[in-house]
Amino acid sequence: MRMEEPLNIIITGVGGQGNVIASQILGSAAVEDGFCVSIGETYGAAQRGGAVMSHVRLFKQNEYGSLIPQGGAHIILGFEPIESLRTLGSFGNKKTKVIVNPRPIYPIDVLAGMAKYPAVDDILRVIKELVSSIHVVEATELAKEAGDSIMQNVVMVGCLAGSGFTPVKIETLKEVINMIFAEKRPEANLKAFELGVKAIRETKPL
């Protein structure tokens, strides 16, 4: 496929959802497939329940820093609906494609009664108005099917792979998943990945 150069992907979610592993899987597979990759993340303090983003950039010529410029995201892989919308605000544009897991994770600001969490349907509707396409996949449910809700991030990587939005090969991703999880349930993670691939292909955009 003819790729934008660089191809800018943002994986966005909440600290603890496994952004970093997802970006690592994607990035390692891209390198194996012959791409150059630059990945930027928020580590350290931000992880304590705060919003986290991984910027994953694929390119073949030149070299790029790890932070995607304003409005530069081609793809947003959203592990959480509010974070997907938040990321769109700074990095989205009319052509952005979004894949989102609609399961909310309530910020403590909301739980403490200091803020309101909008209805998920409203969030998805607003996202739809702002982007080229939005696919909604219940990745947490699929992860539970594969064995553990914590594999939601791997399901989402499967969705990205199956969507065809990136040139990274499904086979390469599977190899990388096998290697990264070699000591902890590679089969379950592979199943999660495959469920994601299948789900995106069976899902129409909103």
């Binding site: 909440v14 603890g16 970006s23 690592q24 990035g27 390692s28 390198v31 150059c36 990759v37 630059s38 990945i39 930027g40 993340e41 928020t42 580590y43 350290g44 303090a45 931000a46 304590r48 329940g49 705060g50 919003a51 030149n62 070299e63 820093g65 790890s66 932070l67 995607i68 410029p69 304003q70 409005g71 509010i82 974070e83 919308l85 938040r86 769109l88 605000g89 700074s90 989205g92 544009n93 009319k94 309530y106 910020p107 403590i108 600001d109 909301v110 739980l111 403490a112 009664g113 803020a115 309101k116 969490y117 909008p118 607003v126 702002l130 947490t140 809700s149 914590i150 990264i180 070699a182």
Partner: protein, 643 residues
């Protein structure tokens, strides 16, 4: 799993910046590594510790950064190659030794790697450690890419060994914590034996000797400068003899090249990328100052290059260079959210500078879009504050402290320190802590607050500190409190790990960096030896903790309370429990509770079922600590032990 230890030269792999630095040290044949955990540098030593056994070299987590630098310094004196890694503020802690070991000189290649943190994502200061290179008169290298992170670290050992001086490699968050493709080199394993002959002396001297050493140090810098003039880490791209030159270093390089591309200026401007930035390769810089009429400096965070190059330009004025219009921090073009010289760089900062300076009519992709989206966000999207993890003992400890201080009724002062519990200043920590500076400043400032009775400040003072930070910085301050009779209670939050930076061990853990069993120095023993009264408690036993705290606060003098409970992330429970809310018993918003678990206590595992109007447990997040079940005023939270 990572490719960092793979012995396949020329293979291209995905590495984190910190891994690339560690790989550089490995390829340079490092023998001795030390450091103290601190973001964004923590993974450098974590990675080296993971490679140490396979490649047969030594790694230690030291108790703090100055001891780390000193131990590595000694290794260098004996001819071994040594590396010390730390966060930016760590450089302040080891500055005493840095300023003297630069004078005494070194033998084996000795490299100090610092991780700066523009925008202070993880630290409490945007301190730019490049200033230390100029301050200490030592060579400075600034990697701009993952590849350079590896290659420069490797070269730094050769440079240091040849010149006999410690070299500073300065990284920053977006380099250390980003990942990118790196082509690996061969791993060098050279066996060396550590030598200290009877004739050896290592000192920065005193009186005239020191001035002499100082002069010798300047000579070393001159030799470094000569090497820098031809270094492959410096280059110029873009329009030949351009009128407009961007001088960039570190992460500024890739941001600048992308900005130039976005604005279509590839044929209009030149970019001088510098990797060896102290001493400045003056001849190289001069060649480009000759043709430049405008210069824009792109660097994180201080105007370090900016000021040094301007000084050079002033000196060269007699040779006909200039006048040049300089842009950067001083001109207020390169600025973060709060102004020039603050906040981190990104492509947009550089784009905006160029647009302003060159008066371009460029509109970023979707500027209108972004304004529309931002409007939606501010009224619609709730912010997501940080919070302690589910099951974190700090939540229990800080609640106990809040309660005890309220019961005491004198508006007690709580000073904070560096660690996960720094969040004690935020709502997740009940906003209990009122101060936060650097390692050990909690008990340090408490010494002051606890000695102001004669000036009318007569409130109880509690200093918070974690176990790792206690060993790092608090022992002298505790001795001071005892000796100078400060009235304070030091509360040590002992979760048996150095949590915020990735669960590294410390002198109370019983393990070292290599995972071997190690002698412990229990905190209570140290306190007793100092002569202060120590109480040990588990804050999960909340009523008891509150009672004990309240009692201790009524007494004078320096005292210590250790709240001991393991970090649930570092020591995950093997036995599973199922925690759920009996909605019939839940009082919810009614009098007697008013949503204590979600509104006040704030564990992310306690959520609210908006439909039922009752509390609920998010079983995906709940870690089974059972504390909310203990605290629920209606006893509505049920714990089921699973088989």
């Amino acid at each position: 799993m990572s490719y960092v230890g793979v012995d396949e030269p020329s293979r291209k792999v995905l590495l984190m910046g910190n891994e690339a630095i560690a790989r550089g040290a490995l390829e340079a044949g490092v023998h001795f590594c030390s450091g103290y955990p601190g973001n964004p540098a923590s993974e450098i030593l974590d990675t080296l510790a993971g490679l140490a056994r396979k490649f047969d070299f030594y790694v230690e987590w030291s108790v703090n950064e100055i001891v780390a630098l000193e131990t590595a310094g000694a290794a260098s004196f004996t001819g071994l190659r040594a590396l010390t890694a730390m966060k930016n503020l760590g450089a302040n802690v080891c500055a005493d030794f840095l300023m003297t070991v630069s004078l005494s000189g070194t033998r084996g290649g000795f490299v100090l790697v610092t991780g700066d943190d523009p925008s202070a994502h993880s630290t409490t200061s945007e301190l730019d450690t490049r200033n230390y290179a100029r301050f200490a008169d030592i060579p400075l290298l600034e990697p701009a890419t993952m590849q350079e992170a590896k290659d420069m670290t490797k070269w730094a050992f050769d440079l240091s060994e040849e010149l006999g001086v410690i070299c500073l490699v300065r990284s920053s968050t977006r380099l250390s914590h980003s990942r990118g493709a790196v082509t690996l080199g061969p791993i060098k394993r050279e066996k060396r034996s550590a030598d200290f002959s009877p004739d050896d002396t290592w000192t920065s001297g005193s009186s005239r000797i020191t001035s002499m050493f100082h002069s010798m140090l300047h000579e070393k810098l001159k030799r470094a400068q000569e090497k820098f003039e031809n270094s492959s880490f410096n280059w110029y791209v873009g329009k030949k003899d351009a009128d407009f030159v961007i001088v960039a270093s570190g992460t500024g390089w890739l941001y600048s090249s992308e900005a130039v591309k976005l604005l279509g200026l590839e044929n209009d401007v030149g970019i001088l990328k510098l990797g060896t930035t102290w001493p400045l390769p003056e001849k190289l810089v001069a060649t480009h100052l000759k043709h430049a009429k405008e210069v824009l400096f792109v660097e994180e965070t201080d105007p370090f290059l900016e000021q040094n190059v301007k000084t050079l330009a002033a000196e060269l004025a007699v040779e006909g260079i200039g006048p040049i219009r300089f842009y950067g921090k001083k001109s207020n073009h390169v600025r973060g959210e709060f102004g020039a010289g603050t906040g981190e760089l990104d492509v947009d900062v550089v784009v905006n500078s160029l647009v302003e300076i060159k008066k371009l009519g460029y509109v970023p992709i979707g500027k209108e879009y972004s304004e529309k989206a931002q409007k939606l966000l501010s009224s619609y999207v709730p912010s997501r504050s940080m919070s302690f993890c589910a099951g974190c003992p700090h939540r229990a400890s800080l609640w106990a402290i809040k309660k005890a201080l309220k019961l005491d009724g004198r508006d007690g002062i709580v000073t904070g320190d560096i660690g996960c519990y720094s969040l004690g200043m935020l709502p997740t920590g009940f906003s209990v802590a009122k101060t936060l500076h650097c390692m050990g400043a909690g008990i340090g400032t408490a010494n002051g607050f606890g000695n102001l009775k004669r000036f009318g400040l007569d409130k109880p003072v509690i200093a918070l500190v974690g176990d790792s930070t206690f060993y790092h910085a608090c022992i002298p301050a505790l001795i001071n409190a005892h000796w100078n009779r400060a009235n304070l209670l030091l509360v040590v939050l002992d979760n048996n790990t150095t949590a915020m930076t990735g669960h590294q061990p410390h002198p109370g853990s019983g393990l070292n960096a290599l995972g071997c069993i190690s002698p412990k120095s229990p905190i209570e023993d140290i306190c007793k030896a100092i002569g202060v009264e120590v109480t040990v408690c588990d804050s999960f036993d909340l009523d008891n903790a509150v009672k004990k705290l309240h009692e201790i606060l009524q007494a004078e003098g320096a005292k210590v309370m250790i709240f001991r409970h393991e970090c649930p992330l570092a020591f995950p429970k093997k036995k599973k429990v199922r925690v759920y809310v009996d909605a019939d018993k839940c009082i919810g918003e009614g009098c007697g509770c008013v949503r204590f678990c979600t509104r006040v206590f704030g564990c992310p595992g306690n959520i609210w079922d908006y439909e039922k109007g009752k509390a609920k447990i998010d079983e995906a997040i709940c870690n089974g600590c059972k504390l909310c079940a203990k605290l629920c005023p209606a006893e509505a939270i049920i714990v089921e032990e699973e088989e």
